[in-house]
């Protein structure tokens, strides 16, 4: 049994008369501590997978087991609790609360979790000790994304989900962010799932899930993932 298992998961939307299938019999397994990249073009259904995994959406059928809990039958409240305690998110546009400092943004997440890390420590870990009391607007994109990561990991989630985390970042900053994510996986044993259309990121992953046209096209595992520094795109 994997740490995360998605079995024959379907996601269908009813749009007017026609049915759109966003996920068509998606099945995969992710082991604990792995850095996974879900790769696919726009509309391949990768975000749907991420949403389902993150408890932000429910699938239409199929099982989603996270650490032995099948969250596919969760109600809204259970899902919220799941998000609260077990999932950390990192988004393309950081989604920091503009009105809160870096530290406060982290604290915002920590507030509601019981076994959380110290926000200041986490921020120090992501190299933002000196920017702790700055507001997002005062931070660069990379810094903001690091704050977002700090916010996501500070609550010690079972799973860290990242949606195009480098999408809005320049090359260098993007690499810095990826580095942190990889470090999370490697050093802290956090299970990290990165959703991206950027195939260049595939080499750094322990496991790469290729999606196309709402289906899992292939799953490949890298026995030796590459270092971020070697990465070129």
């Amino acid at each position: 049994m994997g740490y995360i298992e998605m079995e024959h998961s379907f996601k269908r939307y009813q749009v007017g008369e026609s049915e759109i299938i966003a996920n068509n019999d998606v099945s995969f397994t992710i082991e604990k501590g792995e850095l996974v990249v879900i790769l696919g073009a726009s509309g391949a259904g990768k975000s749907t997978v991420l949403n389902i995994l993150g408890g932000m959406d429910t699938n239409s059928s199929g099982k989603v087991v996270i650490d032995q809990q099948d969250i596919s039958h969760y109600d809204r409240k259970q899902l919220t609790a799941y998000r609260r305690n077990d999932v950390g998110f990192v988004f393309q546009f950081y989604n920091l609360v503009a009105n809160l400092t870096a530290l406060e943004n982290v604290e915002l997440a920590v507030e509601i979790v019981e076994d959380a890390s110290d926000p200041a420590t986490v921020l120090t870990d992501v190299g933002l000790a000196h920017r702790m009391h700055n507001f997002p607007a005062q931070l660069s994109g990379g810094e903001q994304q690091r704050v977002a990561i700090a916010r996501a990991v500070a609550k010690n989630p079972k799973i860290l989900l990242c949606d195009e985390p480098t999408g809005a970042l320049d090359y260098h900053t993007g690499k810095q962010v990826l580095q942190i994510l990889q470090d999370m996986s490697r050093k802290n044993g956090t299970t990290v799932v990165i959703v991206t259309h950027n195939v260049a990121l595939a080499p750094i992953a322990d496991r790469v899930i290729h999606m196309h046209d709402a289906k899992v096209k292939a799953i490949e595992t890298n026995s030796i993932p590459r270092d971020i520094a070697e990465l070129e795109w």
Partner: protein, 1157 residues
């Protein structure tokens, strides 16, 4: 190009469809704003237009003049000099009451042109005895029914109304009496006028008119509610005053002259009466003198008569003596005469004897001759008779022989046998007859022999014997005759001597007699004289008797007159005394006569004009509200709309950027927002304009309609305010949209395509106080930050909520302020039920009646006060404010009737020896404070001023209170009470009316003031204000709901990413809601507090501007006014929270997080 435009319009249509909530919000906000603005703005003018139409239709007088002593020819002449008069009419007026009721009615003669009555039903009086009464009496007095009236006579006892029964012929309303309930004071009934009516002028018997009604050319065209009218009216009023300026003195003089004439006439009458009495007395006296004189004269006459009588008596005596003398003479004469006569008689006797002797002798000679003749005769007779007897005897014998011969013949005849039977028979019968004859003759012969013959022979024999004797006797007689002749001759000699003697005596007698005769003559004359004298005396006596009887008659007449005089004297004296007294009273009255006052009343000041005043008060109230609320509402609505439009532009940023990138020009993009804002606000505004023109006036009309006779409020279209509302709508929606959009479009299309950078966070000032900041929990910190982060929204929330809260606060505060007036005034301040004003001219018994009435069990207690109506011009309309000046005789007990206390401290106030306590509203109107002086005009028109020692809580009416000593110092006059404050056991309005009318019936009562008189007026204002406030409260609630809905909506949509983020972070739904609501709540609380503060200001402003001059709204604030807005907003928030919750639940977190918009 066309294509492009089409797309823009399509985009605009789409934007409506996507945001109905926002669209309706703007619409409703604009509708509310324009409804309040238009509604409050048009209602007042509409009311006034309605009023003007009505007043013009009825041609209601601009000025009404009432002369205290009526308006006589000189007054009329004075008024005739006025220029600019459009119409002038004189009326008779008199207050009466309906018999057996307390209903007072003011009777008018029918005005022809001015203040014409409006006929509701029936017709106007055409002849005496008909009445058209005001329509409020319709139920009690149907057409054709009879109204009996009671008229109270005036001081001089005269009545004006000729009749006491009137037939109801119609129902009217009058522009002079707009109010149905409050019609001012009356001199009858309960002291309050209940009704009015028109009767035929002939039913008034008055020398003067009581009232003049005037319309002026310069005022006809003016709006009666305008300042121009008021100013011009004041000018005309001044003209009238100027024209009438001399009249009081003229009238006083005239009146005094008339009265003095009357007094003089009266005095003359009294004098005449006295004269008459005097004359009567004098006449009586004269009569008495005359009677006495008469009596004296009578006595004198009597005396005279008596002496006359004595003289007469003497004369009589003398006469009698003379008579006696004469008589003696006469007697002597008579004796002489007698003697003479005796002698003569003797002589005559002798003569007679002699003649007798002669005669006797002659007789005896004759006798003798006769006797010889007689004897011869007798002898002849006897011889004759002898012969006769013998003859008779021979006759018989011859007869018998003849018969016997016949018998024989017959017997012979019978013997003849030849005789037939018949002859026989006849012969037989003849025989028989002859036999019988024989028989009879035989018997007769026998009888003759026996009875005649034989006695006759005897007698004759006797007679022969006697005759023989007589012849014998006669033979002596011739001798005797001879002797006698001798004697006679001797006697004849004697007689002759006697005759000679007698003749001598007779001569002597004749002499004596002549003497006597002259004596008799004398006496006769004397007697005659005596008779004359006696007659005269008798006449005198008769005259005296006449005089006496006349005297008696006269005396009785005199007595009668005297009695009459004495009987009538007390009455006459009494009458005279009364007349004198009356005259004295009249003189006193004339002394006391003061120059009459002329009331020159505008429509506002007219007795019974309270309705007019209240009506315009209400319209002014609405006006003054129109100055506050809509401005406020619009401010808030504009603010909210601005925020909403800003948000709309923000939301459409990407869209705009796309369009702009596609090459649309700014105009097209801006047009979208402008059209959106314009359409939304236009629809709302039109809705508001329509409702404002119709609903608001109707609601206000419903609130006051029951009080007034004014017709239903007219709906007029007000272009100005309509355009203003539209302009405001454009200003608060289109212009902000334009500005916001324009500003945004300054950016490059590329930038526009990117999401707007979220507003950056910043440290708030609170963070500079680490002591406080650190103590806050994380969420509190976040909340604080967020509050200050969205400044626009913060202001909008605070102002929006504050606006709604302020309106609610004001609405409830005003409702409370007005609803409390009555209870506070009558429960805690005034406790009396009636003020009974004494009539200064009342007599002692009349005053006695009053004090008896005051002591009846129905009266709980009473206290004497001095009461005066003083005035002061004050207030927004420069009205003459009626101020009641009250001086209690016993200030220490005054609290039983009026509690004087400071409103804020509720501490009782005391009347000082000097200075006055005045009522609060008066102090407010005049802006005077404790320690300052208050000038006023007293009842005699004199200017006075008094220092204010305290200001007393008082809601209804203006008052000045003085202590008796304070009064004496101020007026420099002795204190004397002239009225009574009275509380009744049963203070119900019904009973108060009964008691009031009982007092009114007393002559010692000049008037009764019920403290309820102003009530219906206040009720109307209260009702109207309550209605308007209810509308405002409703508007405020709606406004609050829209504002909160919009704010929440904006808050949510503007922060959708943030909310999605925290949702993704695992905030439970309630936590998410709370995250938003915490700030909203805090802002709302700020808003409410702000609302309270603004509300207080509004409330204070309304307290100053809105109330009629004589009414104070209770300024005390009500705790409910604070609480209710909180509750209302809390409820709205809770309801919205429910919707927000639902929305938050359905937020598509991912979409929000991913999308760039």
């Amino acid at each position: 190009m066309m294509q492009m435009k089409k797309t823009v319009w399509k985009d605009i249509r789409q934007s409506f469809r996507k945001s109905w909530g926002r669209f309706f919000s703007i619409m409703i906000l604009m509708a509310l704003g324009s409804f309040a603005l238009v509604g409050l703005y048009v209602t007042g003018p509409n009311m006034r237009t309605t009023g003007t139409t009505y007043l013009n239709a009825r041609n209601v007088a601009d000025l009404t003049i009432i002369g205290e002593y009526g308006l006589d020819a000189s007054d009329q002449a004075a008024l005739a000099t006025l220029t600019d008069v459009n119409a002038l009419e004189y009326l008779y007026v008199k207050d009466v009451s309906i018999a057996q009721t307390h209903t007072s009615v003011r009777l008018f003669s029918q005005p022809k042109t001015i203040s014409t009555p409006e006929l509701i039903a029936g017709r106007l009086p055409r002849q005496s005895g008909e009445i058209a009464i005001d329509a409020s009496q319709q139920a009690d007095y149907p057409l054709g029914s009879i109204i009996h009236i009671d008229e109270k006579a005036d001081q001089s006892g005269t009545k004006v109304i000729a009749k006491s029964e009137f037939e109801v012929v119609g129902y009217i309303q009058s522009g002079d009496f707009l109010s149905l309930a409050t019609r001012g004071p009356s001199t009858t009934g309960t002291g309050q006028l209940d009704s009015f009516a028109i009767i035929h002028p002939s039913d008034f018997k008055s020398d003067v008119f009581m009232m003049a009604k005037l319309r002026f050319d310069s005022l006809i065209e003016l709006n009666p509610y305008s300042d121009a009218y008021l100013e011009q009216l004041q000018i005309e009023k001044d003209h009238v005053y100027a024209v009438l300026a001399g009249q009081p003195e003229i009238r006083l003089h005239e009146l005094k002259t008339t009265y003095n004439q009357k007094i003089t006439t009266g005095q003359q009458a009294i004098n005449e009466g006295e004269q008459e009495l005097d004359n009567a007395a004098k006449q009586l006296e004269e009569a008495a003198t005359l009677l006495k004189e008469g009596q004296q004269a009578l006595v004198a006459n009597e005396q005279l008569l008596l002496s006359a009588e004595a003289e007469l008596e003497q004369a009589k005596q003398e006469l009698r003596e003379n008579e006696v003398l004469l008589q003696n003479t006469d007697t002597e004469l008579q004796r002489t005469d007698e003697i003479l006569r005796e002698q003569q008689a003797l002589l005559a006797g002798k003569q007679q004897e002699y003649e007798q002797g002669v005669q006797t002798l002659q007789g005896k000679q004759a006798e003798y001759n006769q006797a010889v003749a007689d004897i011869d005769q007798a002898q002849q007779t006897i011889t004759e008779q002898y012969k006769q007897l013998a003859t008779a005897k021979q006759d018989y014998t011859r007869g018998i022989s003849e018969l016997e011969a016949t018998i024989f013949a017959l017997e012979q005849a019978l013997g003849d046998e030849a005789l037939d039977d018949a002859a026989r028979q006849q012969l037989l019968a003849q025989l028989e007859q002859v036999n019988q004859q024989l028989k009879a003759v035989t018997s007769a012969y026998t009888l003759f022999l026996q009875q005649t013959y034989e006695p006759g022979v005897i007698q004759l024999d006797a007679a022969q014997k006697q005759l023989d004797q007589q012849t014998q006797q006669l033979q002596t007689v011739p001798y005797e005759i001879e002797a006698a002749n001798n004697q006679l001759a001797e006697a004849n000699l004697q007689i002759a001597s006697g005759q000679a003697q007698l003749l001598a005596g007779k001569a002597a007698f004749a002499d004596g007699y002549a003497h006597y005769e002259s004596g008799v003559q004398q006496i006769t004359t004397a007697k005659q004289q005596l008779i004359t004298a006696t007659t005269e005396y008798q006449m005198g006596k008769e005259q005296l008797a006449d005089g006496q009887s006349e005297l008696i008659e006269q005396t009785s007449l005199y007595e009668e007159q005297r009695k009459k005089y004495e009987q009538e004297l007390p009455t006459a004296t009494k009458l005279l005394a009364e007349s004198r007294e009356e005259l004295a009273t009249a003189r006193e009255m004339v002394e006391q006569l003061v120059a009459p006052t002329y009331r020159v009343d505008t429509r506002r000041e007219l007795l019974g004009g309270d309705g007019y005043k209240t009506y315009s008060s209400i319209s002014n109230i609405v006006d003054s509200l129109a100055m506050i609320f809509p401005v406020f509402l619009y401010f808030v609505a504009a603010l909210v709309t601005l925020t909403t439009m800003t948000r709309f532009v923000d939301e459409e940023r990407l869209n705009s950027g796309t369009l702009k990138a596609l090459g649309y020009d700014d105009y097209d993009i801006i047009k979208k927002f402008c059209v959106y804002g314009f359409v939304a606000s236009l629809i709302g505004t039109i809705l508001g304009i329509i409702l404002g023109h119709t609903l608001m006036p109707t609601i206000v009309y419903q609130a006051y309609r029951s009080e007034f006779t004014v017709p239903a409020i007219e709906w007029h279209f007000h272009l100005g305010i309509t355009l203003s509302a539209l302009a405001l709508a454009i200003m608060s929606s289109v212009i902000p949209a334009y500005i916001v959009a324009k500003r945004e479009l300054r950016e490059q299309p590329a930038t526009l395509l990117l999401p707007k950078a979220p507003e950056s966070g910043d440290k708030i000032f609170l963070e500079h106080f680490p002591g406080i900041w650190r103590r806050l929990t994380f969420t509190q910190k976040v909340t604080c930050r967020n509050i200050f982060r969205y400044k626009k929204r913060m202001y909008m929330t605070i102002f929006g909520v504050a606006g709604a809260a302020a309106l609610l606060f004001t609405g409830f505060s005003v409702q409370h302020s007005v609803s409390e007036i009555k209870s506070r005034q009558f429960d805690t301040i005034t406790h009396y039920d009636l003020i009974v004003a004494e009539n200064p001219l009342a007599s002692m018994p009349e005053q006695q009646q009053l004090s008896e009435q005051l002591r009846t069990p129905a009266v709980k207690n009473y206290a004497p006060v001095y009461y005066e109506e003083v005035t002061r011009v004050a207030g927004a309309h420069n009205d003459t404010q009626a101020i009641t000046l009250i001086v209690p005789e016993e200030p220490e007990n005054f609290a039983q009737y009026i509690t004087l206390k400071a409103r804020k401290t509720q501490q009782p106030l005391e009347l000082m020896d000097e200075g006055a306590i005045i009522s609060e509203r008066l102090a407010d109107l005049l802006h005077v404070e404790i320690g300052e002086t208050l000038p006023f005009v007293d009842q005699n028109g004199e200017q006075r001023q008094v220092e204010i020692t305290a200001i007393s809580e008082m809601y209804i009416g203006h008052f000045i209170f003085l202590s008796p000593s304070g009064y004496e110092k101020l007026y420099r006059a002795d204190y004397e009470s002239n009225a009574y404050f009275t509380t009744l056991i049963d203070s119900s309005s019904e009973n108060t009316k009964v008691a009031a009318s009982q007092f009114m019936q007393l002559s010692a009562v000049a008037g009764v003031v019920q403290n309820t008189s102003i009530m219906s007026l206040i009720d109307t204002i209260v009702t109207s204000l309550n209605q308007i406030m209810a509308i405002l409260i409703f508007v405020a609630m709606l406004l609050g709901a829209v504002i909160l809905y919009n704010l929440t909506n904006i808050n949510v949509s503007e922060r959708i990413r943030e909310l999605s983020t925290i949702k993704v972070l695992g905030f439970f739904d309630p936590e998410v809601t709370r995250y938003i609501y915490r700030e909203a709540t805090i802002l709302t609380i700020f808003g409410i507090v702000g609302g309270w503060i603004i509300g207080m200001g509004l409330h204070s402003y309304i307290l100053v501007v809105v109330p009629p001059d004589e009414v104070m709204f209770n300024p005390a604030r009500w705790i409910g006014a604070y609480i209710i807005p909180v509750l209302v907003i809390a409820i709205i928030s809770l309801v919205l929270k429910f919707f927000v919750n639902r929305r938050l639940i359905h937020i598509d977190m991912l979409e929000a997080l991913k999308s760039v918009d």
